[in-house]
């Protein structure tokens, strides 16, 4: 918007010459332009949402094999994360065909299972074993599920050979 010349209407009329009144208006348009330019700049460069973080405490590495903590295998739920967002769950030591079941990341599959475990017995424990091909997002969402279901004991540990074999059978690839 620029200044528009007005008040040229009564030039032709007679009368005494009036002292020309200067307009007290300042054209603020450039100032507004500048202000909004700065505003846009700061709005675009600012970061409001600080990244959030989840704290993870990994189990300490045992110094030798005698140091490995013993757990009751019936209380351990193993979750094996595979590629393409698949999860295989089993309870116990060995992933045999009859105990393995496939879960997914939806609320009434994995979460239901976790709640069930938690309700079922007090000392339950979850072991998360991610395959090399599982994505990082999978691991994070698993940790997230642990927080949501308020699991007391869970750990991220390496996948073992039995589970690797299981994945090979289930997914058909290595």
């Amino acid at each position: 918007m620029s200044e528009v010349q007005t008040g040229g209407g009564d030039k032709g009329k007679g009368g005494k010459p009036k002292a020309k009144k200067m307009s007290t208006h300042i054209d603020m348009t450039p100032m507004v332009d500048l202000a909004f330019l700065l505003l846009t700049f700061f709005m675009l460069t600012t970061t409001f949402s600080k990244p959030k973080t989840m704290e993870i405490a990994m189990p300490e590495k045992p110094k030798d094999n005698t140091d490995v903590p013993q757990v009751n295998e019936k209380k351990v739920l193993n979750l094996v994360l595979a590629e393409n967002n698949r999860i295989f769950a089993y309870v116990g030591l060995k992933p045999t065909e009859d105990v393995v079941e496939e879960l997914n990341y939806s609320e009434n599959s994995l979460r239901k299972k976790l709640f069930e475990r938690l309700r079922g017995d007090s000392g339950s424990m979850v072991l998360i074993k991610a395959d090399d091909k599982a994505s990082y997002a999978n691991v994070v969402s698993l940790f997230d599920e642990m927080n949501i279901t308020k699991q007391k004991r869970y750990a991220l540990i390496d996948i073992n050979d039995d589970e690797k074999k299981l994945l090979k059978e289930k997914t058909g690839t290595n």
Binding site: T46, P51, K52, I56, S141, D144
Partner: protein, 198 residues
């Protein structure tokens, strides 16, 4: 017959309130802004319900890109300069004061020690194009563990944060976790996520 002129409204608006508002907002943004750190590699973080904010200070950030390259970042100019000096001593690379000062101001880095001097001496306009293959973390040449170890010596209060891409294969993240568990013996660390919309 007098010609009746339609009364013309003055088309000028009083912009003063607009200016007031605009400058108020400018001031607000100027005071609250924190410039987004320059990102060497774009990372799409997974989301979670965790809502602990990441502290501003004393954070070693390990970024694991989609392709597995590892970048490291440490806040604090002095700490960064001291870290580079220590690393230089360890790998027999000497840095001038100008180079360490420059390193203190840069964003996260992902170059092996062998080429970090060349990286620092690249003019600023070219630096973005400098190939950054990531910090080596193989068992034969595990620079990552040295970086983290020295960062902890430079600033003992430092926390480790891992920032991985949604699609990073777990293998790569596992390597980082194993490295920091192995050498500097850090069992507590943070995973950086976005807040999930619920």
């Amino acid at each position: 017959m007098p010609h009746i002129k339609p009364k013309r409204n003055n088309p000028r608006l009083d912009m003063t309130p607009l200016v007031d508002l605009a400058f108020l907002l400018v001031t607000f943004f100027m005071l609250t802004t924190q410039f987004r750190p320059e990102e060497v590699v774009s990372v799409d973080m997974p989301s979670s319900t965790a809502n602990i904010p990441l502290p501003d200070r004393n954070v070693v950030m390990l970024t694991v890109a989609k392709d597995g390259r590892i970048f490291m970042d440490l806040d604090g100019q002095k700490e960064r300069a001291a870290l580079l000096k220590r690393m230089g001593e360890e790998y027999k690379v000497s840095f001038t004061d100008a180079e360490t000062a420059l390193f203190g101001n840069l964003a996260s880095w992902g170059v092996p020690m062998s080429s970090i001097k060349a990286y620092l001496n690249t003019p600023q306009s070219e630096r973005k194009k400098f190939p950054q293959p990531g910090i080596p973390s193989d068992s034969s040449n595990n620079e990552l563990s040295k970086w983290v170890l020295n960062a902890r010596l430079v600033n003992p209060k430092v926390r480790l944060a891992i920032k991985g891409d949604r699609e990073t294969p777990y293998e790569k993240v596992k390597k980082v976790i194993q490295t920091i568990q192995d050498k500097p013996m850090v069992n507590r660390f943070n995973l950086i996520t976005n807040l999930k919309e619920k």
